[in-house]
Amino acid sequence: MSGAHRGGGVTRLWQALAQAQDAALEAQAQAEQQVRETGELPRAAAPYAAAHEHVRRMIMRPRRRLGRLPFALAMAAGAVALVLAVSSAVRKPALSVQLGSSAPRGEAIPSLVADARSDLPLRFSDGSTVTFRAGSSGHLEKLNSAGAELVLVRGTLQAHVIHAQTTSWILHAGPYRVRVTGTRFGLSWRSERLDLALYEGSVMVDGAVLGSGVSVRAGQRLTVASGVVRIEPLGGAPSTVALATPAARQARDPGPAGDGRPVVEPLPQASPEPGTAAEVANGASGAEDSVESGAPDLAPAPARATRLRSTGTRGAHGRHLASRGGKTTGDDEWLALADRGAYREALESAKRLGWSSLCRRLDARRLLMLADVARYSDAPVPAHRAFQALVKRFPDDRLAADAVFSLGRLAFERGRPAEAARWFQRYVSDWPRGPLAEQAAGRLLESTIRLQEPDAAHAAARAYLARAPHGAQAALARGVLADAADGSPAP
């Protein structure tokens, strides 16, 4: 919608808010698409189906109308309705929580530390339970009528959130946030590693490298470690593809943190083919970063195996790719391969169609997919071309922001800090409130440090601290400024 006639002086506010709402709606639609693909239709995630079901029920059981009742009965019903309306209008009280066997309380709990050898159970008045496993710690930030907000500082917790119409629970673990409306899961945050095992329902997890968030559904495990995001079947075959794919190698690089968009690795195949990432990993790193080997015990006490569901073999990124846009016949093959997570094959297939031609004709979304296919295949040159085509052809598309950031990241990874700094500077200038702006500012700082340009590094450090005084690169920025004050060279 055009914002040209949005008067009132705060045009930018309206535009930015509308864009943010659109992005949230899109994320929600994608999450629902995932849910629909798996055949699960929870009410909150699939209002279309819910609406349809409601209509169906209404048709089957038509409501009685008040007008058909005798007058006296109608009056009595009216009085009862009034009482009910008044009582239901009184706000639902905030939840209370019972810590172990203590008396229920209705306020935040600043410190929750489970004993080294025993669990610390929290029982909420709506029936939800959160158990901090032995040796874990955290705090209860907020309690309200819809739910609670908890922070897992370290260790593991198990949660069983009871779904109600307005359930809203949030769990923080490090830089990540798990948004819950009713589900059962285990969450672990240890040594900068996030591990979420979902037994029932679905949740959205966002923050840090997850950027705008990924949806995790029942029977899946999400892990984020060293910048690598993985979603895999819960209790599936041991995952040994970790840190073997190009994306994983990028994450292993001691360079800056992720770009805000999840790098979701393909799920492990049953029998790895020669030369594939899985085969390489089997021979190389073993189970060094395997979720199964390193994961804390997230299993709920009873009947875990019976609750597992088949989740197919496609990664979340694959689903994401598949859900975008229509397809033309020529693009079917590389899109399908990308959908399966076979990025190298997708790259070869796309190349056969002519990379230049694809860069000229694809729309913004597919260009981004194409670039990602190349990036995940460790092919920076074609990735660069695709990203650049996106920026050049669709400079006003919001995906151009992603492409500009990715170009900066590619340049940084290819040892071209000057070029990287230009791209990150462009992102910060053109999309100062973009979802990756903070990370772009951080990477700009790193690029200028690598360039050994003290003035530029100081400027970048100041700009970063002004934007994110508690951000991931705040310590680095302060270090740069402190060095400047001491008269020593930038790191």
Binding site: M1, S2, G3, H5, R6, G7, G8, G9, V10, T11, R12, L13, W14, A16, L17, A18, A20, Q21, D22, A23, A24, L25, A27, A29, R43, A44, P47, Y48, A49, A50, A51, H52, H54, V55, M58, V86, A89, V90, R91, A146, Q165, T166, T167, S168, R179, M204, D206, G211, S212, G213, R433, G434, P435, A437, E438
Partner: protein, 210 residues
């Protein structure tokens, strides 16, 4: 939804003829009570309706799915009153607006009855912290505005509806909607000036960057 309100025909598009034919088929199938008709309706217009509701109620409003559901139910029940199938989208928009208005009014009554000022906080999931803060502030102000000012204001400013479309969606005359928008804007600015989270946005205007 007993009143017959003015309806604005859908705006023309390159695929206008096909869309009109699709709408006509959809309306016919709804009137014929064909199985799957509501599902088809929501598949076609669900995202539009959800966007309208998001503008009016805010992102992350836990009752949006319920309102959407209610819209589907009303559409199913009242489809017989829609005489012009080409006005389907505008008609649905109007239902969504009226249903959201009912919800807002109910919340206002609840707030009054429960002596609580607190209303659900509506941020924008996945947006930057500044944007989330601004979104919460905007909807806090919206919650304090009269509903018949708030809704046209949200549709005009956030959804970017033209005046005529705003008036049609809200079931108001052009003159009324114009008057309410002026009042709403004045009211919004007055409250926004007292809100820290919106300060930077207002400052930008003052600095000539807006």
């Amino acid at each position: 939804m007993d009143r017959v309100l003015r309806l604005v025909p859908p705006s023309p598009s390159p695929d206008g003829a096909r869309e009109q034919a699709d709408d006509a088929r959809l309306v016919a199938s709804l009137k014929a009570r064909e199985p799957g008709a509501v599902e088809a309706l929501m598949r076609r217009y669900g995202s539009h309706l959800r966007r309208v509701l998001t503008r009016v109620l805010g992102s992350d409003d836990t009752e949006t799915p319920d309102v959407l559901q209610e819209v589907a139910v009303i559409a199913w029940q009242s489809i017989g009153r829609l005489s012009d199938p080409l006005a389907l989208k505008a008609w649905l928009t109007q239902i969504a607006v009226f249903t959201a208005r009912g919800l807002i009014r109910r919340r206002h009554r609840q707030r009054w009855l429960s002596f609580f000022e607190e209303l659900p906080e509506r941020s924008v999931p996945w947006a930057s912290p500044e944007m989330q803060e601004a979104a919460r502030a905007v909807y806090r102000i919206f919650d304090r505005m009269p509903v018949d000012e708030r809704i046209p204001f949200a549709l005009r400013m956030l959804e970017g509806l033209e005046l005529e479309a705003t008036a049609a969606a809200c079931g108001m005359s052009l003159a009324t909607v114009r008057r309410r928008l002026v009042r709403a804007e004045r009211r919004f600015h007055k409250m926004a000036r007292q809100c820290d989270a919106l300060g930077p946005w207002l400052d930008e205007v003052a600095g000539g960057r807006g």
